[in-house]
């Protein structure tokens, strides 16, 4: 039982981070048909913004704020203006290829301009373990889970309980009608890129103390989040959340109780099953777009 609790908490914490990244996938897809294959590198990069700020003498909290701000500007505004807007006119596929190129560029740039070696990254809380029903659960895992859940709740409230959120939803569902209704569609699309910039920065702050900050981190994270988004439903934020949680928990439980050798294969088996039997994802809707 103790082992099961440990595995569940650890899996939920990892899954919650996958969910944050997967939400970014669905948001960008819903509002601008952008499939961002550099999403993993978008999570890797803010950690280095933070480390660079700390190297210049900033305390952690200030460095984290700088990291989030830079992420919003560079991975939100600049990404949209320099990459997405010029490429999306030529269709989804050229944009997909461009984001793959961007992922390589970001990865190699961090390696060349910062370091090829993994860097220790400060945790949000001091390392401390909690004992619960015989299980040892790190406070860090609990905090990661709490911050990720709070972020998702905040996003849910923004999208469903505010006028701005409803305008974004309308833009996602039907941009032409939204424009007729007077909604500034371009600005709404920009907001989703800003939200994605903030989400990847938060995910980066949460996962880098566990993964260590390294230029290759984006490969595994991007793939996991992409699979999570497909499993949950690419056109539903709540689907991305479910997909992330399933992936994180399944990874841990399968490694412990089935086979550690094949742990990488289990998420892919689930992915294949979803594509075969429910192509729109577990919570996705057929041919409907909403954020």
């Amino acid at each position: 039982m103790a082992s099961f609790i440990q595995l569940m908490v650890s899996g939920l914490a990892t899954g919650a981070i996958y969910a944050l990244i997967a939400i970014g996938f669905t948001l960008l897809w819903q509002t601008s048909q952008t499939i961002n294959f550099a999403q993993g590198e978008f999570v890797m990069l803010p950690a280095f913004f933070v480390l660079a700020a700390m190297n210049m003498g900033a305390p952690y909290w200030l460095a984290a704020l700088i990291g989030i701000a830079l992420s919003v500007v560079i991975l939100g505004v600049l990404f949209k203006a320099v990459i997405v807007d010029p490429m999306i006119r030529h269709g989804v596929l050229p944009l997909v290829i461009t984001t793959i190129a961007l992922s390589l560029f970001l990865k190699e740039s961090v390696k060349d301009f910062y370091s090829s070696q993994a860097q220790p990254f400060p945790a949000l809380v001091a390392p401390r373990d909690l004992h619960f029903l015989g299980a040892v659960v790190s406070l860090q895992s609990i905090v990661v889970l709490a911050v990720a859940v709070a972020t998702v709740i905040g996003l849910h409230l923004l999208l469903n309980k505010t006028r701005l959120g409803r305008c974004m939803q309308a833009t996602a569902q039907n941009p032409t009608v939204a424009r007729i209704l007077g909604i500034p569609v371009g600005r709404m699309v920009l907001y989703t890129f800003l939200i994605n910039g903030a989400l990847v920065a938060i995910a980066s702050l949460l996962i880098s103390p566990i993964y260590l900050a390294k230029f290759t981190n984006g490969e595994a994270l991007g793939m996991a989040a992409f699979i999570a988004a497909i499993i949950g439903g690419f056109n539903q934020v709540r689907g991305a959340i479910l997909g992330g949680i399933i992936l994180g928990v399944l990874d841990n439980l399968s490694a412990a109780y089935l086979s550690s050798s094949y742990r990488g294969a289990f998420p892919l088996v689930i992915l294949i099953a979803v594509i075969l039997f429910r192509p729109q994802g577990l919570l996705g809707r057929v041919e409907e777009r909403a954020v």
Binding site: S3, Q6, L7, S10, G11, T14, K107, E108, K111, S116, Q117, A118, P120, P127, D129, V136, S138, I207, I210, Y211, L212, K214, F215, T216, E219, A220, D251, N252, L253, A255, A256, S260, S261, R263, G264
Partner: protein, 382 residues
Amino acid sequence: MLRTGFLVSLVAASIGLAGTAHAQQKTVYMPAILELSGAGAVSGTNFRDGMLMAIDEINKAGGILGHKIETPVLDTQSDAGTSRAQLQKVLDNNPYVVFGPVFSGSVLVTQLMTMKAEIPEIVGGEAAAITQKNASYVFRTSFGQQFSMPKIANYIHDSIKAKSVAVVWVNNDFGKGGRDNFTKEMKDRGINVAADISTEVGQADFSADVVKLKGANADAVFVYLNEEESARFLKEAKKQGIKAPLIGETTLLGQKVIDLAGGAAEGVQGHVGLTVDAPIKAVQDFAAKFKARYNYVCDHNGIKGYTGVYFVKYVTEKIGKFDGKAFAEKAHGITITPQEEPGILMEAKWDKNGDIDRESFLGEVVDGKQKIVKTLPMLSKK
């Protein structure tokens, strides 16, 4: 006046061109194919930096047999297929020797090509299989697993006195080779392998693996992972309160792992084939030079790259020509001492398979530093 000036310029230009041509002739092409990106970037860049430091020293002192070393460095991207393509690229230019790769999986692919081309390959790979494939042109710069694992096994048997052991290994050529040799050595000593846990390259979450480890309740845990995975594993092991001694090979006790793992590396023990903390003045002087030049602490791969170049220099000067075949014949069975070649740092011997033998160490992590507690003699001097 004008004509005189023109003639002077012409003569000067001719001398300059001749001088340039002369300088171009006096180089020897020794390319390197290394892991500069991907999962092996830390190992590859350390090897490269140690290698380039040795090359600069040798070139400043006049080169090898009067030839400056020319070493372009090509990136394997830590991928065996890319390593093969990069090697083919340099083989087309008829190199004298090739440095790298470091990853065993890449070495296993490239060594057949260098053997066919009769070009010596100075590698950083440690998988036992490398020198068991009759590849007569491959030379190691560190212990193969068939040499390091018996030393660890003796330590676990004689010092830890373990009756059972759990093995955690990374699922690549390096990890699989280490695991196979280690379990064989355990069996030979009558020690039960209570858990055999494979992990993935780049794995971040080790909670499931440590849960399995706890269930095995072994007297000792042998950890054979790459650097970053080692650090993450140690953190998780500490979190879940693993009490059994954590034993490892060179990587687990490296300063990088200690730094990344923080306090979780405290008390880790094991065998260290190469380390900048070795109680040998030449090694410590090398480490200080490396730190001053690159502003980071060299790991064992930096020593491999540095000594590998001096190995080539020594053997070449012995044969007196740039001939790969003659190099391979001379290098098999050669012993180089620091008195004969200071750049070799520690006495080293290469056997008929290209395996290296030198002193090694038992270490322990104390107060965030690797502490060498015992020096083990060369196997050939026992």
